[in-house]
């Protein structure tokens, strides 16, 4: 099945703060609390985890700040109390336990883009045509299904979001 996330449209939250035209990108930062999240004491990643969206992506009605799933309150391990869900970037950009949202005028660097730039770019749209040395995006297995299915461009939301990337080479801007 496709996970039924419960959340608030991100654009409603953004509109509350009335960003100016200087706000080109939105940056998100995860809670840094090694006492509660022991893996943050390790050096696997430069904590805290950081993600970013372009303003038009953040304002798209599909982008949500999730507070639950399966009609339940978001469990800790899934990123309580608030996590980002961007359906056409599914598997990417799902930053958990957000404690800070900033409007900035530069393209932010997300954590995986810093750690592994050959595999993770800024945009991270689901794109079956983009294959990486370690993994393919051509197929997927839905939770609860045994057989894989072909992955669709923009995870099946091309009609709603493809227009934001007109003229961009999405193989380069992966």
């Amino acid at each position: 099945m496709v996970i039924p996330w419960v959340g608030i449209p991100l654009k409603d939250v953004i509109n509350t703060f009335q960003p100016t035209s200087q706000a080109k990108y939105v940056e998100f930062v995860t809670a840094l609390n090694p006492a509660q999240m022991p893996a943050q004491t390790g050096r696997s990643l430069p904590w805290p985890y950081v993600e970013g969206l372009r303003m038009d992506e953040a304002m798209n009605p599909l982008s949500i700040l999730a507070v639950g799933l399966y009609e339940e309150t978001l469990p800790n391990q899934d990123g309580a109390p608030i996590r980002l869900v961007v359906p056409w970037k599914y598997g990417f950009k799902g930053i958990k336990s957000i404690v800070k949202i900033r409007f900035v005028d530069y393209q932010t660097k997300n954590t995986w883009q810093v750690m592994q730039p050959s595999e993770y770019g800024f945009f991270a749209n689901v794109n079956p045509a983009v294959s990486h040395p370690r993994w393919s995006q051509a197929s997927e297995r839905r939770i609860g299904e045994f057989f894989k299915r072909k992955t669709l461009p923009f995870n099946g939301y091309a009609d709603q979001v493809a227009s934001m990337y007109g003229g961009m080479d999405l193989k380069k801007n992966y």
Binding site: S44, L45, W112, M115, Q116, E119, S131, P133, R134, W135, S136, A138, S139, R141, I143, F146, F147, K148
Partner: protein
């Protein structure tokens, strides 16, 4: 009963525990939210661990001088092959369900899978020639062929290392262990070469001086 026979039986049963735990876990539904990934990781872990344990046999024999331990080597190597086979089957059946085209793409396009496949084929060659009859038939060639385990251990470790997107500490420890195990063999060869060098003719005690 001889100690080695008892030890062999104990190890045989113990070596099946990881496989048994996967079966129990499958029935109890405790193989995490992503069972295929979990089974892939565990079978891969044990294939690699048994490969490393197999490589420990000779150094232990040399250091302790306890020769019967060599009788464990084939069984340990075959357990590595056993878990490698489960690892391969998890990938080809559970993950891809015989989608040969996608599997071929994976082997060609993903270096870590290329290395995994190469490792599996090497272990397959070693497993099919592991019988006593093969040892007799191949003679010296058998020893040469079975040195492939050194290469298989290196490709297996590289495969393990390349799977992760960041370097995992565990892989570093295994790299140190493998360096020690292979280093021991190099050191042993150099050491024995020095020792068996024939004494110079002048000192053979038979030459008479005028």
């Amino acid at each position: 009963m001889k100690a080695i026979v008892l030890l062999k039986r104990v190890i045989f049963v113990a070596a099946l525990i990881p496989a048994a735990m996967l079966i129990v876990g499958a029935f109890r539904g405790t193989l995490t939210a992503n069972p295929i990934d979990y089974i892939t990781d565990r079978t891969g872990d044990w294939a690699f661990r048994f490969l490393m344990i197999t490589l420990c046999v000779t150094p232990i024999r040399r250091i302790t001088g306890w020769n019967p331990i060599i009788q464990l080597r084939r069984m340990l190597g075959l357990f590595s092959f056993f878990y490698a086979t489960l690892h391969f089957l998890t990938w080809s059946v559970l993950d891809w369900f015989f989608d040969f085209r996608s599997m071929a793409d994976d082997i060609v396009m993903r270096p870590f899978i290329t290395l995994g496949m190469a490792t599996f084929l090497m272990l397959l060659a070693l497993a099919v020639t592991s019988t006593t009859a093969s040892m007799r038939r191949l003679g010296r060639k058998w020893t040469q062929l079975h040195r492939l385990i050194y290469l298989a251990a290196i490709t297996a470790l590289t495969h393990f290392w390349m799977v992760g997107k960041v370097l995992v500490t565990e892989v570093t420890y295994w790299a140190v262990a493998l360096t020690a195990l292979l280093g021991f063999r190099v050191w042993w060869v150099l050491r024995t070469r020095v020792h068996v060098r024939p004494a110079p003719a002048d000192f053979d005690g038979k030459k008479s001086f005028p």
